[in-house]
């Protein structure tokens, strides 16, 4: 396997697979596959054949039991056809192989509800944090400034100077921890990769609408201690070209959008470390 390969899982209410695949291609992956969950459950496509797994935005099962809950349950319990393997085994093997996972919005919700994040001590199936209803009680589509934690181990954010500007589009993005201890471990380990902030990326904020959901410590994104697993509520795939910026007709912007760097870093990491 000499090609860098990204996979985007879709099905049961996932919505952002096209633009996520596009971002992977622009980011430099040699091959990008959009795989329907049915094709993975049937055994036609295996996660083992890829380096970068994208869990993208959408409304898995309508978020009917709380965001991404039903899919977390499905992934944990469903078996792959023609084998005794549970689907979740493919995930744990993927993580153990040192590969990359990026969960965006509904994908982030799925990661925390499966327990993949923050993933302390290699426990990737143990839920300790959650994402729940925005304080405003409503779905919000608006752009947010995200201050980066430059000391984070996250491999996706390498090279980001102060922060990036991305849209959020969610009703359940409020980040909460099960205990102060969990929060302290996240903070001490610099796992809170992005925080909602002011336009200059200097101060994180709890004020609506700059912080659209009321997240604890303004946390918008999280990575595991290895930095290879990351989840975030804002949509990096929604800003890979300047015409996606809400003010591109009035500001001078570079050709590339702020979100693309996450995919570029993933592709570079895969090329340097995984093939």
């Amino acid at each position: 396997m000499t090609q860098t390969r990204a996979i985007v899982i879709t099905g049961n209410g996932t919505n952002c697979e096209m633009e996520a695949a596009h971002a992977c291609r622009l980011g430099g992956f040699d091959e990008v596959v959009i795989a329907h969950i049915a094709e993975i459950l049937s055994g036609e496509i295996r996660l083992d054949d890829f380096h970068f797994l994208n869990l993208t935005g959408g409304f898995l099962d309508g978020d009917d039991l709380g965001s991404a809950k039903a899919q977390a349950n499905r992934l944990k319990n469903a078996t792959v056809a023609g084998s005794s393997e549970k689907l979740v085994d493919q995930f744990t093997r993927f993580i153990a192989a040192g590969k990359l996972i990026l969960g965006v919005c509904n994908g982030f919700q799925l990661m925390v509800k499966m327990g993949m994040l923050p993933g302390f001590d290699g426990a990737y199936l143990n839920q300790t944090v959650t994402l729940t209803h925005n304080d405003c009680g409503r779905f919000q589509d608006r752009w947010t400034y995200l201050q980066v934690d430059s000391q984070s181990p996250c491999i996706f954010t390498t090279g980001i100077d102060r922060g990036i500007y991305l849209p959020v589009r969610h009703g359940e993005g409020k980040f909460l921890c099960d205990s102060e201890a969990t929060l302290a471990r996240i903070e001490n380990g610099h796992l809170a990769v992005f925080r909602y902030s002011d336009a200059g990326y200097s101060e994180s904020t709890m004020e609506f609408p700059a912080n659209p959901n009321g997240s604890t410590n303004a946390i918008a994104a999280l990575c595991d201690p290895t930095g290879r697993l990351m989840g975030l509520m804002p949509h990096p795939e929604a800003f890979v070209h300047y015409t996606q910026h809400p003010r591109w007709t009035r500001e001078h912007l570079p050709e590339e959008g702020d979100g693309l760097i996450l995919y570029k870093n993933a592709a570079l990491y895969a090329r340097q470390n995984l093939i």
Partner: protein, 996 residues
């Protein structure tokens, strides 16, 4: 015995849902509550072990970080009253369905027939409330009793009884399937009773046509062969009622109109649809010659036009008014997921790329009494907005464009327009994707959801006025996820060439979809007993006409059926073979072995003679008011900015995902703080290309109070003007017409039918005239003709309303223009002349007048202006552009200024004027809504080139963009008549609906 699993939030976790309910109780019902908490309840009616129940409760049903769970033990505490709200039997319960699936994954066992999980919510109310207050909260806010049930307990009663017992809303029906025969050899009164009692919505003439059919000896002989008697079966009668309903057959648009104008000239119009709408498209296409871009018009579920060499665009706009009046949430949700199926079911199928929504409501702050059956406009507003939010967002389709229009007559029926565009490859498997066919022998396949009693008589009930007895079953709740799964499967099946024909199951259910498909090849044979049901006990006629959602009908060649069905199983989509298509000219329905309907295709589709419709135009008389000129209009401007039809709709728009799929170029909001109102939307449906799709719309029902001709002309102009403003190309743009009328058929109930019909004729005349001038082919549309409320005493008719939508192209989306001013020093131009046309304007409405000088569209000069402007855009000469509509010039300059964050200073004496000098007043210049005008800003260095591009057609520099954040307007006489800071103008504009 069913088990109750209750999920509560842990101590200290904020309950955003409860807080919202608390706000709404205070806001809507003016009751004080100290607090509202909420609980989720899952009632599991299936034999699960206690371990399995615990696994479900602690696993998929709850979030361990923030929630607790209990099993068969009430979790509620710390309240004064508790209200539990769940669905009535048979109502779509999406959460229950997902919960059931989750349990199946957990146990590894599928649910048996009749086993299920049901969802309910508990509201824990704290405060000094009476039982009557709680009753009011339950029925006025928490529960729509049409589809939901509720129970209330006080804290004391709750403790005494140990909480609510497990309640299983299972459909209990006697499993006695029967087919009735209906005797039509009865009196005329009896015929009408049969129609009315059965919600058939058939007229006496139509009943008599059916009566005559069953007297025909040839028909009787054919029936005898299949064991049928001389009387129609209920399956046949119901099927004809659906097929012939106004909703499905468009009898008014197909009827013969006897029109008399104000001068007494008489004219017979055979079919408004053919004479105006179809003719518009035909004539425009002929004129375009080899530049014609229409691919499929009027014949499919949506219109199809060329996008580029490799792709075609598909667009349809629908209405879902009557269901939204009864159940705003379910009605609107069904509206949006329903219209999604139109482009999906067009040609061989398309990928859905955006939604558009336009809602017409009465004032949400309405305080006057309403007839008992009508819901308060605020509740309709809330429900519709949320229904479309869930439908659109969950389907992963961006909502890119829309409007909210307010007029108190929409209390009688709200209008809920939902549109969806799709993109299809020009060619799929070597064949043009916009074409499809059926061969005799192809199998009838239904995919998606199951059939229940939901949505029975939707088509016929919406063909009548809303009344006290409107049927509950007409309401459905959509399920975007079941539909999304089906689409995920079908789009892959399309690319593998596994089916030959696809269409949607909408109004009339299978009777309509299979009836139309059978028309393609000349007949069908279908066994209703094979249809998958949500619960047992449906009679054959109910199976045939149920409008249960999320279903598509397909024709699958027999040699592909195995692969098709196997793939459906893999994708978790139900697909069932119901029969086959034939060419024997008969719509032949079985229930098992027995024939239950035998209808000649010709009688079904051609058996109805055209309606005869009188129409007489008498122009209404409204006096033009004489208003005193003012020295300062700043207050009036602020009041206008706050008016419902003008104010910011951001609180609604932000709830709609307008960026999913990644192609967003011009968003609903723009400008320095992302909050200025865009005129139109631009999206890039193909992410590695810069070709953009542009969509916009026009709607101005107020002008109907003066003349529907001009209402229509202005709506078409507004749509194209918005489209052009952002940079849409005039070489590739098409229109869609959605007529929403009050009943225009002269009858006892509608004594002014001839006038309303004349309004419809005039509207059609304008549609033809203006579209011809604008080279706009009409590619699809819809009419909804019974938008009245009548309970025997009160009648509320909506103002005749045309929603005109356009879809087209911008060759390079990077050239798109937004409405916010860009930099100080830029020159402000006004394109197009202003006239004294304040009739039915927002300004007159605010002052309590209608007036008579309605804006007149001059499409010839307007089209030349739009062409010139487009050249300027393509050449990069335009910094910003905003269309002038509600509220006129004053509102447009205010919006452009505060969106851009820079001031504007203009001089009214420089505004190009047309018409009589005595009308030339500051008031008219500020607030007249004259058509076809654009406010443009241009960098000084581009001014000469812009002047040259525009020529001298009513294009004038009227002012300048200023550094200081101030709007300043100089009067004709040179004095300042508007002066206000941008912050205060924006605040006035944003405040009205901010909290909704």
């Amino acid at each position: 015995m069913a088990n109750r699993i209750e999920i509560s939030l842990k101590e200290g976790v904020r309950d955003a849902r409860g807080e919202r309910i608390k706000r709404e109780i205070e806001h809507f019902l003016h009751l004080n509550v100290e607090g509202v908490r909420t609980l989720d309840v899952y009632t599991v009616d299936a034999p699960l072990s206690s371990t399995e129940l615990e696994q479900a409760a602690s696993g998929p049903f709850s979030d361990p970080v923030i929630q607790n769970w209990t099993i068969d033990r009430p979790a509620a505490a710390g309240f004064d009253f508790i209200v539990e709200v769940g669905f009535r039997p048979g109502v779509t319960d999406n959460v229950g369905r997902t919960a059931r699936e989750a349990v199946s994954y957990l146990t590894g066992r599928p649910f048996a027939e009749g086993e299920n999980v049901y969802y309910a919510v508990q509201y824990l109310l704290k405060g000094t409330l009476t039982v009557a207050d709680v009753e009011k909260i339950a029925t006025g806010l928490l529960c729509n009793t049409l589809i939901q049930r509720y129970s209330i307990l006080s804290a004391a009663k709750f403790t005494a009884t140990g909480g609510f017992p497990a309640y299983v809303p299972k459909v209990q029906v006697e499993v006695k399937i029967e087919v009735k025969e209906i005797n039509l050899e009865v009196s005329d009164e009896e015929l009408m009773r049969i129609s009315k009692d059965g919600v058939l919505a058939l007229t006496l003439d139509e009943m008599k046509i059916i009566q005559a059919q069953y007297r025909d000896p040839e028909v009787l002989a054919a029936r005898q062969k299949f064991g049928l008697g001389a009387q129609p079966t209920d399956v046949e009668l119901e099927c004809l009622a659906q097929t012939w309903s106004e909703h499905c057959k468009h009898k008014i648009f197909a009827g013969t109109v006897h029109y008399e104008d104000e001068k007494g000239n008489k004219q017979e119009i055979k079919s408004l649809f053919k004479s105006f709408i179809q003719r518009t498209t035909k004539d425009v296409r002929e004129r375009m010659g080899d530049k014609d871009f229409c691919l499929s018009v009027f014949k499919d579920n949506a219109g199809v036009i060329r996008f580029n060499d490799t792709h075609s665009l598909v667009f349809k706009v629908e209405t879902h008014n009557s269901p939204s009046a009864l159940d705003p949430y379910g009605g609107a949700l069904t509206g949006i997921v329903g219209v999604n199926r139109d482009p999906f079911g067009t040609g061989i199928g398309s990928k859905l790329i955006f939604n558009t929504d336009v809602f017409c409501f009465a004032d949400p702050f309405y305080v006057k009494p309403l007839p008992s059956r009508l819901l308060h406009p605020r509740r309709i507003y809330e429900g519709v907005v949320e229904g479309v939010e869930h439908g659109g967002n969950k389907s992963g389709i961006p909502t890119v464009n829309g409007s909210l229009v307010f007029d108190d007559r929409f209390a009688g029926k709200p209008l809920v327009f939902c549109g969806t565009a799709g993109l299809m490859p020009a060619v799929v498997n070597g064949k043009p994707a916009h074409e499809k066919s059926i061969k005799p022998g192809d199998l009838i396949v239904m995919t998606g959801g199951r059939i229940g009693k939901d949505g029975i008589h939707g088509a016929t009930f919406s063909s009548e006025e809303l009344n006290e007895n409107s049927p509950v079953t007409a309401v459905q709740i959509g399920d975007p996820i079941t539909q999304k799964r089906m689409f995920d499967f079908l789009i892959r099946a399309r690319d593998k060439g596994l089916y030959r024909f696809i269409t949607d199951n909408g109004a009339g259910g299978l009777s309509s979809s299979i009836g139309e498909m059978a028309g393609e090849c000349g007949g069908c044979r279908m066994d209703l007993a094979r249809a998958p049901l949500k619960y047992p006990g449906l009679n054959p006629w109910e199976i045939l006409i149920s409008e249960a959602q999320e279903r598509m009908s397909l024709a699958v060649p027999p040699e592909q059926i195995d692969e098709f069905l196997a793939m459906a199983v893999r994708f978790g989509v139900e697909a069932t073979v119901l029969g086959e298509f034939t060419d024997n000219g008969v719509f032949h329905m079985f229930y098992g072995e027995r024939t239950v309907a035998l209808l000649p295709m010709e009688f079904m589709h051609e058996g109805l003679p055209p309606m005869q419709l009188p129409a007489k135009w008498t122009p209404p008389q409204h006096h033009e008011p004489v208003l005193e000129e003012k020295e300062d209009y700043t207050g009036d401007l602020k009041q206008l900015l706050a008016a419902l039809n003008i104010c910011s709709k951001e609180s609604v728009v932000r709830r709609y995902d307008h960026e999913v799929q990644g192609g967003s170029v011009v968003k609903p909001f723009t400008g320095v703080a992302n909050d200025g109102p865009s005129d139109a939307a631009v999206v890039r449906p193909i992410l590695d290309s810069f070709e953009g799709v542009v969509t916009a719309h026009g709607i101005c029902p107020r002008y109907s109070d003066i003349d529907t001709y001009h209402m229509t002309a202005n709506a078409v102009d507004e749509a194209l003007r918005n489209y052009v403003a952002v940079g849409g190309s005039l070489d590739l743009v098409a229109g869609l017409d959605n007529f929403c009328w009050c009943d225009p058929v002269l009858s006892e109930k509608t004594p002014d039918g001839a006038y309303k019909m004349a309004q419809l004729v005039r509207s059609n005349q304008a549609l033809y005239d203006v579209c011809m001038a604008y080279n706009l082919p009409l590619i699809s549309g819809k009419d909804s003709m019974k938008n009245d409320f009548y309970d025997g005493t009160t009648k509320i008719s909506i103002p005749p309303t045309l929603l005109f939508s356009v879809i087209g192209k911008i060759d390079d989306a990077r050239k798109a223009v937004t409405m916010d001013v860009k930099r100080p020093g830029d020159i402000v131009y006004l394109l197009g002349c202003t006239a004294n046309e304040l009739g039915a304007s927002e300004y007159y409405t605010m002052k309590g007048f209608i007036g008579s000088n309605v804006p007149l569209v001059d499409p010839g000069t307007a089209y030349a202006r739009y062409q010139a402007y487009n050249r300027a855009v393509v050449n990069g000469l335009v910094a910003s552009c905003h269309d002038l509509s509600d509220g006129g010039l004053a509102v447009a300059v205010a919006e452009s200024a505060f969106a851009g964050g820079f001031g504007i200073a203009i001089d009214l004496s420089r505004v190009p004027w047309k018409g009589a000098a005595e009308g030339w007043t500051d008031m008219a210049l500020l607030f007249s809504e004259s058509a076809s005008r654009l406010l443009v800003t241009v960098r000084p260095e581009h001014a000469d080139a812009f002047d040259a591009a525009m020529g001298d057609d009513g294009c004038a520099p009227i002012g300048v963009v200023t550094e200081q954040p101030l709007l300043s307007i100089e009067a004709i006489e040179g004095n300042t008549i508007v002066k206000a800071g941008l912050a205060e103008l924006k605040e006035a504009w944003q405040r009205t609906l901010r909290e909704l």
